[in-house]
Symmetry: C2
Subunit: 479 residues, 2 copies
Amino acid sequence: MSDNKEFVKDITNIEEDFAKWYTDIVLKADLADYTDTKGCIAIKPYGYAIWENIQKYADEKFKKVGVKNVYMPVLIPEGLLQKEKDHVEGFAPEVAWVTIGGGEDLEERLCIRPTSETMFSTLYSKWLKSWRDLPLVYNQWCNVLRWEKETRPFLRSREFLWQEGHTIHATSKEAEERTMQMLDIYQEVIEELLAIPVLKGRKTPKEQFAGAEATYTVETLMHDGRALQAGTSHYFGQNFTKPFDIKFQNKDGKEEYAYQTSWGISTRLIGAVIMAHGDNRGLKLPPRVAPIQAVIVPVALHKEGVLEKANEIYDTLKDNYRVELDDRDNYSNGYKFNDWEMRGVPVRIEIGPRDIENGVAVLVRRDTAEKITVELDKLNNTLGELLEEIQKNMFNECKKRNEERTSIAKDMEEFERIINEKQGYIKTMWCGDEECENKIKELTGAHSRCIPFEQENISDKCVVCGKEAKHMVVWGRQY
Amino acid sequence: MSDNKEFVKDITNIEEDFAKWYTDIVLKADLADYTDTKGCIAIKPYGYAIWENIQKYADEKFKKVGVKNVYMPVLIPEGLLQKEKDHVEGFAPEVAWVTIGGGEDLEERLCIRPTSETMFSTLYSKWLKSWRDLPLVYNQWCNVLRWEKETRPFLRSREFLWQEGHTIHATSKEAEERTMQMLDIYQEVIEELLAIPVLKGRKTPKEQFAGAEATYTVETLMHDGRALQAGTSHYFGQNFTKPFDIKFQNKDGKEEYAYQTSWGISTRLIGAVIMAHGDNRGLKLPPRVAPIQAVIVPVALHKEGVLEKANEIYDTLKDNYRVELDDRDNYSNGYKFNDWEMRGVPVRIEIGPRDIENGVAVLVRRDTAEKITVELDKLNNTLGELLEEIQKNMFNECKKRNEERTSIAKDMEEFERIINEKQGYIKTMWCGDEECENKIKELTGAHSRCIPFEQENISDKCVVCGKEAKHMVVWGRQY
């Protein structure tokens, strides 16, 4: 038992120092580690397996709506990056430049892609000829690099993995529909797979992607009440197709510029899973994305028949679930229980001599700590039902918390009082002026999350200036 | 019909100029395109889908033998690269250096990984504590960059995609076994999936990977008789574990250095598929790796019921095969037939008014041009059998060609005569001296492919110096 206590002591209390708790989980649950490359992490097998599950789930959904995967060069010549004014202003300060290749100074330096609008646009301009070629709906799963000053594993790494979809269309209507369609898919990935409810809306112009006409977002709320932007989908209009000369011959034989979108989700979602669901026992993984959905821990491992029965159970379950058998003989049961809880495995299956005698096993839920005794011949079905139940419960718990942490503010006094009492979403009316948006940030540290698609009429007046309100905006401090 | 002729004229004759034929196929079959980043290509959907099929097939096999995927930083600090002498000598001349990040000159420059032995080794040194942690069998699917002077799409791109496995073990025996196990898997991927027979063996010391103790290879032969190294697996012994201080406490409590391997296959395999199987009609894809296994071309598209029936067939087949329906109305049948042949689709399914009347469809094989009339209710099964038959036939055709293009040379006169008559593998005996190996390269342009595992005793004397022979070596001009 001394093992257990020491073990839990290793992890910072989640209410005392959430940031330190987060780092503890990343390192101790073996999700990632720091490297000699400043600001860049190594994603370890357990962390990478989460990413693989996200990729698989999202990629299948992408392919069903006609997305085709491609791969573009990681290096972008400086000249390309500079073709769209807002884009280069937004990204140039945070890129890494390759200046030497093959032992020689380069004539034109190359940046490591921070995002690939410019590369896709250049090639689309080359490939697009006729309306018959449209739409082009391409995506790549790749690494990108942004020279962040302050980094945090998964949440803000200099290098991260993501997918970036880039599409061109004959009409603005079709491009806008694609922007929304991909945002809807992001919602499905984040809600169905990661069990995190999202808030959907449009970013204010200030928070838009560099070069976009409109940026749409799925926002999430973490355990500590801070917000995290979990995925974005951009409508570019012709902002890139004009400078990059992406034209096509329409049905009447006339040349037109195409309309463009881009959209992305990243390994940041792993950070979201940790921070949305975790608790003082450690990581808590939704079953659908968990690399290990159930772990079998034989109790009294050395007793005759126990390991054998554990192996039998493993064989029964392994084709239907991602299951592991912990047959380590150099750790106590207590240590193992804590270890798997800390690693967030949704269900622990305990099997000991008395259970074998009774023909049962004990299932322990990670989300509620509830213990359920199950007859061995029902284990296979029960486990499946239980995993789905856990998935649902985790989503509902998050949703409940979001509701508790969502407030309405009608003036700045109220806004400041609320945000100092509790972190979370704050809904206000807004006149649409960037000045008022800046003021809120100055006074409270909160950024606008989005202008939600589901608008409510809280009042007629902007929360800052009192002038006529245009939108309801949700605000919050952010990661 | 004029369409057809023009179309075929577009592609260089394979016997006249193989290199130009290759480039034509890459571009016209829409596999890849050149980009503004010199020496780097954009892999288009049709090319990338081949890579996805290779990835899926290989990754499943990897996972079955305990390989775990991870992701390491793309940037490696110069200091790390320099820790192993041979390794840095081999790779430093061909790396790209990042010297500026976030607007500032970096204190230590960072190279874009040409391969990640140094990064894995640094982290293994941090992670490895006890014999209980071993083996560590990690792999990453990622991009790498090597500043090649002369590039060719897929075969030798500055940036390419690959997987690199890096493992550490408690004993040299276990590490050597892993090296072989992965080589065997490469053989399976290349032979079973890509229908290309391989020659397996050990590289001569001259051709070894920079820093390796031994490099094992799977070699392949292309249509023009040139060889292509298709995958390699390296045994490092303790060459990296000592400079990188990768130690563990063994069962007796003593510290030991671990033993190491690495192994990789890359998008070069797409080049291999093109060059091993293609012909004057264009690309020829083995069914198991083909993004489109069968294409349905309705003949007399405008006639009543034809498109309807074609759609019906599509619906019948789409869950079992990767199938496409070509309902374009702006191309002739002839153009379409040529187009799909050029794109290497293994089976074309023609359906016209008379076929519908007779309740049949016509299957046309890409590999033999044979036409097979099939009753519609047997189409589903017949297609599956036919695809397997094509897969087998393509492998056998390659094997036959390899045999025809394999010769034996007992002296250099014979060697030179043969290699000037026909490209291919040449078997000779070899004394083991690098000088003799260099001489062969000078005189004939051939490199040693490998010392095959299956040795034959051709003679007792080295083909160059006439001294006592140690091994039979296979030579060939290479890509």
